[in-house]
Symmetry: C2
Subunit: 427 residues, 2 copies
Amino acid sequence: MSGIRFYNARLLTMKDGVEIIDDGVLITEGERISYVGKKEDEPEGGSYFREIDAKGNLIMPGFKNAHTHSGMTFLRSYADDQPLDSWLNETVFPREAKLKDDDIYWGTKLAVMEYLTSGITACFDMYLKPYAIASATEECGFRCVQTGSMNDFSQSLELQEEWYDRLNKGNPLTSYIFGYHAEYTCSKELLEGLSALAHKYESPVWSHNSETLSETERCKEKYGLTPTGFADSLGLYDHGGGGYHCVYLSDEDMEIFKKRGLYLVTNPASNMKLASGIAPISKYLKAGIGLAIGTDGPASNNCLDMFREMFLVTGLAKIIDKDASSVPAEDVLYMAVTGGAHAMGLKDSDVLDAGKYADLIMIDLSKPEMQPLNNIVKNIVYSGSKADVKMTMVAGRILYEDGNFNIGEKPERIYSEVNKVIEGMKD
Amino acid sequence: MSGIRFYNARLLTMKDGVEIIDDGVLITEGERISYVGKKEDEPEGGSYFREIDAKGNLIMPGFKNAHTHSGMTFLRSYADDQPLDSWLNETVFPREAKLKDDDIYWGTKLAVMEYLTSGITACFDMYLKPYAIASATEECGFRCVQTGSMNDFSQSLELQEEWYDRLNKGNPLTSYIFGYHAEYTCSKELLEGLSALAHKYESPVWSHNSETLSETERCKEKYGLTPTGFADSLGLYDHGGGGYHCVYLSDEDMEIFKKRGLYLVTNPASNMKLASGIAPISKYLKAGIGLAIGTDGPASNNCLDMFREMFLVTGLAKIIDKDASSVPAEDVLYMAVTGGAHAMGLKDSDVLDAGKYADLIMIDLSKPEMQPLNNIVKNIVYSGSKADVKMTMVAGRILYEDGNFNIGEKPERIYSEVNKVIEGMKD
């Protein structure tokens, strides 16, 4: 007895660009895909735990949220419409300092719920208390790549090494990559120590990078190098990695990204809402830098929705390039799905193929904004929304279907706990 | 026997800013609201056609889509990622020339479906074949203010007068306001004729205005006046009206808007996708100009979603102002609801109050992105989506509820017809 068989599906495997297979079948076995393709080529004689009539709807690989701070859901709509400095120093930092393991556990579960409704099957999470995060995501059945947010005041090299060791050896839904918060919150010595760790384990390194102009300018004043140049000078990128935000990369920074094979995660909604700027995505794309998309955390976005981010990636590029043909929908979808998987080291979650993880979603083509069917990919990128996600599956398990969650916990409990977290912190 | 009674509701009436009433009751009678307020002040002894437990969810006035071309749904995702000139001249215009009444009728019904899913209870529609549009919207039970898209090649003064007369005397769901496509598609003589009509009926006049820089520059070269200044010099604004887009207003234009009491409808997604520019909304807001929000048509946006537009209004303002506190959520919500109603002449659809039309929506606060409940208004503007719209009511009739439509026609039929329209036009 195999897993689940979907039939009557349109398939967007993303193996070969954005070609769509009609009358497709997809079969899972355990946590992986055992068959995906035309019904006429389907292996004979299978029996299944469940058969699902996709009714012509689209099955595609799930979106990858390639930068987030999931546990910050407790601060959603608590710190908006205020300047960045007061947002960070008066609202966010004092409350984060009070967070307990349980607070992050519940906040992360709330974020996972929203990811699932937006067709996101994995997130690249940078936050506090990695074991609490792993408990939350694993109990939900959700895939999570964690990275460090180490800085001079929080986390340490010893802890990063412990997390790297333990979180990469446990549940296959969880992995860990070295990371630091940002150049401006870390001493040179701390980053030299992280470089040594990266060399010891031949691991990539990630961080916030060139999110604001002032951050970039201050780094140049301090070290005579950009944040990217400085990190590279310390050997942090000798085994790859990448940067979040990257609104203000220089041409030399772009050369480093290409030379080291670094990935760049753009966070357009957060960069707008915090007035940080607009990343020149078409320039990065033309340079051949590997691109992915992230929502950033719910305190700065505030929603965790890949559809909004996808529209912003192309819409903002069109505006700053003054060119309505800039960064077409197909490129955006690649960033949101396959590009994200590659950035996060999820080589088995990038496309639909036999042997790959069954990390996939069903898009409901019977919603008004998905009609007419002139071009399904452009429909998804330009008019898609959470309302179009009919089902989200991670590692062969359906975690969200027709508005209902299957994550081992009732939504009401999660809401109640997260409301308690912030209530306990209000002034 | 009265209409429908909602209880256990949170109420955002928008009568007094964004204050929310807990444990509220709202009662409809026919097409209007008969009571809205605290449960404890509810009139005694009513009997109702239906009672609905809102379960703590939010009831608020519906959004007003203050600029759209509904019938263009047939072109969704058919003309993307191409420069504006070829988009308009090679894709849009040749196909619009082939449109029949029935094509616009079905395309409009598809748009209405999407409006309802986005909590939009009225649209300000500028398109071809007004009787076909009115048939479609009225049969759905949807409120629609139409305006002319007259230009040198299509529509005429005689037709506008006929439409004004007939569409303002028929079904109260429909109304008509004089309008022209844009300065650059109309001769001076035609606009002088429209001004005479506006004076005869003491009616406002609307048009596309200063959508692109080149349009604005060319008008100045031709007439020595901006599109706003030129229209005002012809007396077109003597009885009010307004402009769509308005990306490039001069200080003098803003003075005319204030002096004539004109409304300005911003269309941020369309302006991004067609690379037209970013309207300086905080400047217009500070000047005291009446503001509203529109999606523009589905060929240029491509979705008809007020949530995405609301985020863009504030996000783009924050970016161009380099100020994360610019255009706060409360101002954006006012534009999307009350501002839109006032721009469209819908004085009885602007807020929830006894005697006003029951044009209202229920927002599902049990969705993950609506939690925690730190600030419901900021939740709606920053993390709201179509997925959060539980119910949409127009003129006392529930047209959309829990994903199901009550518009007198099956979705499948509408999809089938709209797909036929575009299939018949493909090269």
